[in-house]
Symmetry: C2
Subunit: 248 residues, 2 copies
Amino acid sequence: MLLDTPKIAPQDCGDCPIRHRAVCARCDTDELLKLEEIKYYRSFEAGQTVVWADDRMDFVASVVSGVATLTQAMEDGRTQMVGLLLPSDFVGRPGRQGAAYDIVATTDLVMCCFRKKPFEQMMEQTPHVAQRLLQMTLDELDAAREWMLVLGRKTAREKIASLLAIVARRDASLNMVPAAGSLAFDLPLTREAMADYLGLTLETVSRQVSALKRDGVITLQGKRHIVVPDFDRLLEEAGDDNDGGMLS
Amino acid sequence: MLLDTPKIAPQDCGDCPIRHRAVCARCDTDELLKLEEIKYYRSFEAGQTVVWADDRMDFVASVVSGVATLTQAMEDGRTQMVGLLLPSDFVGRPGRQGAAYDIVATTDLVMCCFRKKPFEQMMEQTPHVAQRLLQMTLDELDAAREWMLVLGRKTAREKIASLLAIVARRDASLNMVPAAGSLAFDLPLTREAMADYLGLTLETVSRQVSALKRDGVITLQGKRHIVVPDFDRLLEEAGDDNDGGMLS
DNA sequence: AAACGCGATTGATCTGCGTCAAGGCGGGGT
DNA sequence: ACCCCGCCTTGACGCAGATCAATCGCGTTT
């Protein structure tokens, strides 16, 4: 099951994407004023860790620009990325103490943060905010489950194509162009990060990217800039049916 | 990150586990009376499909007894289980139209259902219900992400051990015995269903179960009844640290 | 410009798991 | 009692992807 991200640009509604993506579909209500009071911005450099798993995390936040990853680790060092945070994505666990995963900035990153306590209080007083968060969490759950299919059943080539399709779609959505036909975007992940997301090794990722290039599914400009001449072709390679969009 | 299921038995609070697990931590409030009016029970036989992916699903529900699975399929027939519904688990997507996945009963199954429309109305009027659902959805999200690590990075043997540990823990929780030391339980899944959950083939599952038996990690009575002489040993085999419980 | 470092690519080889195939076991129907 | 049918087990073999290792490209430092 595939979901489309809303076709709303951050600036439609002020400078903070949390206004519509995370919290409030009605941008002229009083809650936003309350939010303004507890809002602050934080910047991170590429490679910086935002929070470590199980550390206290006393804020919830929305990604303004840049990319971050949620990663789990086993004691022996094996790691699995469990989430990719792109601009307008929300992160945080209202009602929970610690962070569940390492959050790491993979590019320079700006987040719009809200202090958690007052945010939770606001949530209690304004039912539609809790409901909005529930909807968002259901979206995340769908995305996680979609990814379980990728991890459990797809081949390396299909995994790469799936990841490219997701990033391409999100990028198109942010720039408000239709996710179809020809697309171009910058891949905000190293080969190693891609491998971590896909349950592969970085060598396999590299080989399969080369293979997709050789077969004309994508072309590369430099290491990171991807051109997708035919989006449907990419979806086919990903093993998806092409009747919908996929969320994060 | 591992989570413990609440140590509350369904019967503490009436015959319907939704009362505390899904909806209401305060069992004496008015909302329960409203719930009674829209509540009904449904039974399914082992193998029956509860709903197909993308079908309308006009109820939310809680599992009273038996086991069901949430499964995704690719067009070519590959399938991946994305969720396992055990007694007291909640299923449903308030605010959403269709089911996201096939829901199939793997044993005889009884569900406590609530008509969705009135349930959603009740949710809107009673903020703490929406918040409870948010917490539950966050739990599910954690479980899904935990499973992403299993699917992406664990070996076949570790996958089997992880699955056994989850079922053992849930079973212990339902029977209100501590999940430690020696445990025994019935595995409510066929080898094929296990394979579907773990991203393996049924042959590999069979081989690894045999290997765990040979190595004394578990003993079998019949095909399905599992005895775990040392739960910590099992966790070790699963590659988990043993400092917490894992949810579903 | 030379030296360095980091990410990416590519090759050679190994191996865990998938695939294909042949029984085994146990319960239910005739 | 017999057979049948679902479910499970076990073996032989092949392959996709992991592992180990060498090299490249390119931006940054000295």
